[in-house]
């Protein structure tokens, strides 16, 4: 486990970029945190780390947004709307087994569908300022320890 404090959204993007640079084909990154915690902000950073330059918009409504213009494809998923089920029909395992990087927001709604190994990134508000975030990176599966070792000051 690794804990990092970021002080504003720009710093969260910078951390995301560093994490994105570590990503390999087939990686699954779970992003947990409350509404407004900064999950899509973090994904913007990961996209930049993959060399994706265009806009990264919230996938809440479309559930999945795909970005193909980076060094690896990015599959940005948000299953917020599936709190009451329905994810079984989405074919998520095809993304998880694919050759891109899957970033999943609100993964607690699809616990049964997750692959056995992944890295979980929790983003939590702190009591100090509105923009400060405590970010916890936990590898589940040996391959993912490199995310905990991310070079970030």
């Amino acid at each position: 486990m690794r804990e990092i404090i970021t002080h504003d959204a720009a710093e969260t993007v910078r951390l995301g970029r560093a994490l994105g640079q570590l990503a390999q084909a087939g990686d699954v990154i779970l992003l947990d945190g409350d509404l407004g915690a900064g999950k899509t902000t973090m994904t913007k950073g990961i996209a930049r780390g993959l060399g994706i330059t265009g806009p990264v918009k919230s996938p809440t409504f479309t559930l999945i947004r795909e970005y193909q213009d980076g060094r690896l494809p990015l599959y940005h998923m948000d299953v917020y709307r599936l709190e009451n089920g329905g994810a079984e029909d989405l074919g998520l395992d095809e993304y998880f087994d694919g050759d891109g990087v899957s970033v999943v927001e609100w993964s607690e709604f699809i616990t049964d569908l997750l692959p056995p190994t992944y890295v979980r990134i929790r983003i939590a508000r702190t009591d100090s300022t509105d923009d400060t975030r405590r970010i916890t990176i936990t590898a589940h599966g040996g391959d993912y320890v490199r995310y905990e070792d991310v070079a970030f000051e």
Partner: protein, 346 residues
């Protein structure tokens, strides 16, 4: 001659089939919403399930044909939304449309869902070009410029959340269930803008939107009050949120009208049902010396429906746009961005 288009829409939660005559007359427009299926099946249907569309589409098609009083032999063409949307949901409409077109030897017209939303307003008055459309829904927040009848260009877009999504998310914080647009709109008419939330990007010299910061500011305000054991006025929170949203939407639209003078302004998509937005845009246009005509679809055509796809398909058909049997769903389908819009993103 009578042109009859059978149109399909299944990009998200609604299954809809319509028969449209000459692009201007809705002979039928059957919409199966989740609410209906909850009633019919007496149980909870998952919000996003292709199965739901499969169950509904045949019945909707039969009802649309019967209500219109037409037979397959009367049809001129079949039209369908092929994107953007949920891939599994889109595929049901695409497959149904292809099947009927193939079986009855009819041309197949592929329609972009957002062209459909825009053309919903053509039922109010015939379009005159150039035209500007503000397309606002749960999944989209776009300013689209039309130089001619089937030329769509995105000149402004959201950088993060769609406006309807922002409503749903702050609605959740207020304890209002999905979809939250209408209740928040109603609540917003009962309070005052006491919180002065930020109007993100409003002063920036581009036509893009951002609602993520507003969402965070809203959540922070509620969060702080919770920590102090205070209870804030839900009406004032809703008014403050909606005032910020409307300032952004109206402000950016006025900016776009300066650089892109047009004959008509369309507001369409689910959020076009918002009473605050309708009133504010109306008032804002009244301050202009030479305002464009404001076209907003009636409420029943603001949400997803197939009649709007039929209206867009009428124009696409005249433009010679056809699909062959390889037509597939394109979940990420988008209008092209203007050069200025692309430069603003970078």
């Amino acid at each position: 001659m009578r042109e009859l288009i059978l149109a399909f829409e299944s990009s998200c939660d609604e299954t809809s089939v319509a028969v449209v005559e000459n692009g201007t007359t809705i002979l039928s427009n059957i919409i199966a919403t989740q609410i209906n299926s909850h009633k019919r099946f007496g149980g909870v249907v998952p919000e996003v399930a292709s199965r739901h569309h499969v169950q509904q589409i045949t019945r909707c098609t039969e009802e649309a044909m019967t209500q219109a009083g037409v037979t397959y032999a009367d049809l001129t063409a079949v039209a369908v939304t092929y994107g953007p949307g949920l891939v599994g949901a889109l595929l049901i409409g695409v497959t149904a449309a292809k099947t009927i077109a193939f079986a009855h030897h009819l041309p197949l017209i592929p329609v972009n869902h957002m062209a459909g939303h825009t053309y919903a307003a053509s039922y109010v008055a015939p379009f005159q070009f150039p035209l500007l459309a503000l397309l606002v829904s749960g999944g989209h927040t776009e300013l689209v410029y039309m130089a001619s009848r089937y030329d769509f260009q995105i000149i402004g877009d959201t950088r993060d959340d769609a406006v309807g999504e922002a409503y749903d998310k702050i609605g959740r914080v207020l304890g209002i269930s999905y979809p939250a647009g209408k209740p928040v709109d109603e609540l917003a008419h009962q309070g005052h803008d006491t919180f002065h939330f930020p109007r993100a990007m409003l002063e920036e010299d581009n036509l893009d939107f951002s609602f993520s910061g507003l969402k965070s500011a809203f959540i922070n305000t509620v969060h702080h009050a919770d920590q102090l054991g205070e209870t804030l006025s839900k009406a004032d929170l809703a008014t403050s949120f909606q005032d910020a949203v409307l300032d952004i939407l109206v402000g950016k639209t006025l900016r776009a009208l300066k650089t892109h003078p047009v004959h008509q302004l369309v507001i369409a998509g689910g959020v076009a049902a918002n009473q605050g937005l309708r009133a504010r845009m109306h008032d804002a246009l009244a301050t202009l010396s030479d305002p464009p005509q404001l076209l907003i679809p009636p409420l029943r055509l603001c949400g997803d429906n197939a009649a709007m796809i039929g209206a867009a398909a009428h124009v696409a058909y005249a433009e010679g746009i056809r699909a062959d049997w390889t037509l597939n769903a394109d979940p990420s389908l988008s209008f092209p961005y203007s050069r200025e819009a692309l430069a603003a993103i970078k």
